[in-house]
């Protein structure tokens, strides 16, 4: 009798991966979509049960093939992984539920099974990164996810997606290769790739040049993948020209998974073992985070295309997350981790709304959606809710993150005050670019000669509203993200004492 419960961490990766080739074979209409959605839902249910178990105090450690670490491959799910798993599988499932009509509109029927197969591979890759407990498997899954994402992004009808994907491919591969160099150097020095083992062994060789070089390579490589300013240039075009549902999925989770790896490697392995690393980390990343928040928000304010505007907004939000992490204290790190969750909710909902608008409007510039508030009332109302969450209005998930961030920086003295001003300034810029859309949609005049626009299909509206209301729910009932975030911070920072 197999005890399925034991194998949950592995099943989460394996099931979508095995379903992918099966999905390719499903040619009848809608079957591919249904199979993909089911596989994704399965992974989501598993991640919920893992998170619930963690909150009850259970720990999850899984040895592939029952080989013991550090020689065997280990899968480990802790609070940080669990929170990220919820985000990734949740984003995938919710987006897939809404995706059918949008994908029908953008991708030819014969290619859809291939498209959904790529989606499942991307999902299994992202999930694999989150459960892997050794550095090389992280690399492998990272590349699985990356290659599938390239396919997904290039899948749409817009030919401009192709140069965008090419740039994404080049930069992503360079990032992954830098990461590979980094862990190679660590292997050279410590002889192990298992994260927990690495953490112990690195004490003996701390502060030697290869380890420092490795830390540098890993940080830069993951920063490329995570779109940390100024290595973010692949992101705006990739998000803009991808199929709309793909943007919703990737915006919610792909860069965050790379940030997860960065934070885990940095705090788990490097911080405690390299003297002054925390200062170097701070000094290096804090200015980049601040620049991201300011420059990207300004770019968003001047952007006319809705998707590119929110893509820049995502770069700014990555800046927020790096800002919290670069404070290298409990409060800052908790704020960052909670923000990963809340931003996924807000940005996912926003891009779902954009996808819904795209179902009816042929182009997505501001002037094109003028008057959409009256023609697509449910869609735009959800936009307002999700937009308020992005701004950080109280009662929404975004406010909780903002509260945590401001609390974290205000405890840091003079530089904290400057950081608080920057956080506030970029929030106000978010008000500007979100409110521009609201004003144009509700008070603008519809384009001359526009065909009669009706509301989006019911299935999409339902999902958009679930996402929008989730923003409000998690803005008031914050137990799950806050508890998981706090547990995650304790695990990561525990090594600093």
């Amino acid at each position: 009798m197999i005890n399925w419960a034991e194998h949950l961490p592995a099943l989460q990766v394996v099931v979508p991966m095995l379903c992918a080739p099966l999905v390719v074979l499903l040619h009848p209409r809608g079957f591919a979509w249904a199979a993909a959605t089911l596989a994704s839902l399965f992974a989501f249910v598993i991640s919920i049960s893992l998170a619930a178990g963690l909150l009850r105090g259970q720990t999850y450690q899984y040895n592939m093939g029952s080989w013991a670490p550090p020689f065997g491959i280990e899968l480990r799910v802790d609070a940080f992984s669990a929170l990220m798993l919820l985000i990734v599988t949740g984003a995938s499932t919710i987006t897939l539920f809404a995706a059918r009509q949008s994908i029908d509109q953008q991708i030819e029927e014969e290619r859809q099974p291939l498209f959904y197969a790529a989606w499942l591979l991307a999902l299994s890759g992202l999930v694999g990164i989150l459960v892997a407990a050794d550095a090389f498997n992280i690399f492998v899954f990272m590349e699985i996810a990356a290659l599938s994402s390239y396919v997904l992004v290039a899948g749409g009808p817009d030919k401009r997606a192709l140069p965008a994907v090419f740039k994404y491919l080049i930069m992503g591969t360079i990032g992954a290769t830098f990461y590979l160099i980094g862990i190679g150097m660590i292997y050279l020095m410590t002889g192990t790739l298992n994260l927990a083992d690495m953490e112990l062994k690195i004490h003996e060789v701390a502060d030697q040049k290869p380890v420092l070089a490795a830390a540098g390579f890993i940080t830069i490589g993951l920063a490329l993948k995570a779109a940390v300013f100024p290595l973010h240039i692949w992101l705006p075009n990739a998000y803009t020209y991808a199929p709309h549902m793909v943007t919703a999925f990737l915006a919610a989770c792909s860069t965050k998974v790379s940030l997860y790896v960065l934070l885990r490697l940095d705090f788990f392995v490097f911080q405690a073992n390299l003297s002054e690393h925390d200062i170097q980390f701070s000094y290096f990343l804090m200015p980049l985070a601040v620049l991201a928040m300011l420059v990207a928000s300004v770019s968003a304010m001047f952007e006319q295309n809705l998707k590119r505007m929110f893509a820049y907004s995502s770069v700014a939000q990555v800046g927020y997350i790096m800002l919290g992490a670069s404070l290298v204290n409990q409060a800052g790190l908790t704020a960052s981790i909670i923000h990963m969750f809340n931003h996924a909710l807000a940005k996912g909902a926003l891009f779902l709304v954009v996808a819904s608008l795209a179902m009816r409007f042929s182009r997505l510039r501001l002037c094109d959606i003028s008057g959409a508030g009256r023609q697509m009332p449910w869609t735009m109302a959800a936009f307002v809710v999700a937009g308020l969450s992005l701004i950080g209005v109280p009662g929404t998930a975004g406010f909780i993150s903002k509260w945590y961030f401001i609390s974290a920086v205000l405890s840091e003295g003079a530089i904290g005050v400057a950081l608080a001003i920057i956080i506030v300034a970029s929030s106000l810029m978010a008000v500007v670019y979100v409110w521009r859309v609201v004003e144009t949609a509700y008070f603008g005049v519809p384009q001359v000669g526009a065909i009669k626009i009706s509301e989006a299909p019911f299935s999409i509206i339902i999902v958009i509203w679930i996402a929008a209301l989730a923003n409000v729910y998690f803005g008031l009932v914050t137990d799950v993200p806050v508890m998981l975030g706090t547990m995650a911070t304790e695990a990561l920072m525990g090594h600093l004492r």
């Binding site: 308020l388 209005v393 509260w403 608080a420 106000l428 009932v477």
Partner: protein
């Protein structure tokens, strides 16, 4: 039901009403107005049922959920909040009656959206009035800003949308940029944001930091319209008059000065703030606002803009007397909230009545209109006299207490400001009063008009009556707020 549930009902009732109004609006407009009035009446009744408890010294409270560890969404009723809630809920009924007359008299579009947002704004106001800590207050403060935006932008034309953008921009900038950091700072320093008699900052903060925090609060509460964050008030005059009445008398500005007063009394503490010299700048800033706003009002030709600047000055009366930090002055601040509400709502109702009946908006067009619209202009006169502070209007009562408080603190700047601004108020109101009653009408009026629609006249007669009534029957209010500063009236 117990007191805690009553509080929840008070906040939830207008929200439920908003939903009901939205549905009723699709069926029948009379049904919709009926739902509004019923909801408003029910709210007033609910709020009134809490009053005896407060008189008895009880402070009912209820906690809903812990949003962030250590920070709750909670409500607690104390005398100042009770006063504000009664004021807002009572005036909502009258404002609804007036709105019905105005909206129908002017055949306005989007009436359902109007009434729905009104109800949501009232729910937010109840939330502000009953909030137990800074966090809860901030949440409902922002909801109020957002729910009044569609009201301000009601007309939907380009000029209105631009002005509404100024409204939203200033309020959100001040609240996110100044008020939120101030609240977070308070939580960090004091460990909590709960409103406590005597304040929570004593001993935790000293020196210039106190003045700085006070500044963040005062300018962060943009709704109190202290200069230089006052620009949103004149900009919001593009809204229909019932909205202006709501903004200026019932909810928005009152929420602003309520928040500032509550922060001074329950977060800083009167005695703590009095002992800290770094907070004395507030009196100067508010005094400046009063004089500057009054002078600008003198030069206005549009009636609503004149009333807007008058409001800015009157709001700073409240904050200035709260900043005097003596018991009489605090009573003066709180009673002025009431007196100004009654007086200003009357003035705005009259302005809207003039617009509805005669389509006139500029002051120079109002020669002799008193003879055509006697009820309206009589109410206007009473409201204006209350602004100046002439007995037997309510404005006199609050001015009395403010002056007494200024004497108590030996603050001659405050005394001088009050006297000078009274003179200025007279300077811009008395000529209007004279002109509307005694001047001759200029040639033939464009419209041969009479009084405004009945609903509007009814509303403004009631509020004018309240203005005079407050002069005679202010005992209950004094009994309510006296205990806050330890006084038995």
């Amino acid at each position: 039901m117990n007191a805690g549930d009553t509080i929840l009902t008070a906040v939830a009732l207008p929200l439920a009403g908003a939903v009901a109004i939205a549905f009723a609006g699709r069926i029948n407009k009379n049904l919709r107005e009926g739902v509004t009035l019923v909801t408003a009446a029910a709210l007033a009744w609910t709020v009134a049922s809490l009053v005896p408890l407060i008189y008895a010294g009880a402070r009912p409270a209820i906690s809903i959920t812990e949003v962030v560890p250590g920070i709750e969404l909670a409500f607690k009723v104390e005398p100042l909040g009770m006063l504000f809630a009664c004021l807002a809920s009572g005036l909502w009924i009258i404002n609804s009656i007036y709105s019905i007359g105005y909206m129908r008299g002017n055949a306005e579009q989007n009436q359902t959206r109007f009434y729905t947002c009104f109800a949501i704004a009232l729910a937010a106001t109840m939330g502000i009035a009953f909030s137990a800590n800074l966090f809860t207050l901030f949440i409902f403060y922002e909801v109020l800003t957002l729910s009044t935006y569609p009201l301000v932008a009601h007309k939907g034309d380009e000029k209105t949308v631009r002005s509404a953008r100024v409204y939203l921009g200033i309020l959100l900038t001040t609240s996110i940029g100044l008020l939120l950091p101030a609240i977070v700072w308070t939580y960090i320093v004091a460990g909590s944001g709960d409103f406590t008699p005597g304040g929570i900052l004593a001993g935790k903060l000293e020196g210039p930091a106190v003045g700085l925090l006070l500044g963040l609060f005062v300018f962060g509460v943009g709704k109190a319209a202290i200069m230089p964050v006052h620009r949103w008030l004149p900009a919001a005059m593009v809204a229909p008059t019932p909205v202006s009445a709501l903004l200026h008398a019932v909810a928005v500005v009152k929420a602003g000065v309520f928040t500032v007063t509550k922060v001074i009394i329950y977060v800083f503490g009167i005695d703590f703030l009095f002992a800290e010299p770094s907070s004395s700048w507030l009196v100067y800033v508010t005094a400046f606002t009063i004089i500057a706003a009054s002078i600008v009002a003198l030069r206005q030709s549009n009636l609503k803009r004149l009333l807007a600047y008058s409001t800015i000055a009157q709001l700073s009366y409240v904050v200035m007397s709260a900043a005097v930090l003596k018991p009489f002055a605090e009573i003066g601040a709180m009673t002025h909230m009431v007196a100004h509400a009654f007086g200003k709502i009357t003035l705005f109702f009259a302005a809207g009545a003039i617009y509805t009946a005669a389509k006139k908006t500029e002051i120079h067009q109002l020669h002799g209109i008193g003879r055509r619209m006697p009820w309206t202009m009589a109410a206007f006169t009473i409201g204006a006299l209350s602004m100046i502070g002439v007995p037997p209007t309510g404005g006199f009562v609050s001015k009395w207490f403010i002056l007494a408080g200024a004497f108590q603190a030996e603050n001659y700047l405050v005394l001088a400001t009050i006297i000078l601004s009274t003179v200025l108020n007279a300077a811009y109101f008395l000529p209007i009063i004279f002109m509307v009653w005694f001047a001759r009408e200029k040639s033939s009026p464009d419209i041969n008009h009479g009084e405004a629609p009945l609903a509007m006249v009814l509303a403004l007669t009631i509020t004018a009556g309240l203005t005079i009534g407050f002069f005679f029957f202010n005992g209950p209010v004094l009994e309510l707020v006296g205990p806050i500063v330890g006084m038995k009236p």
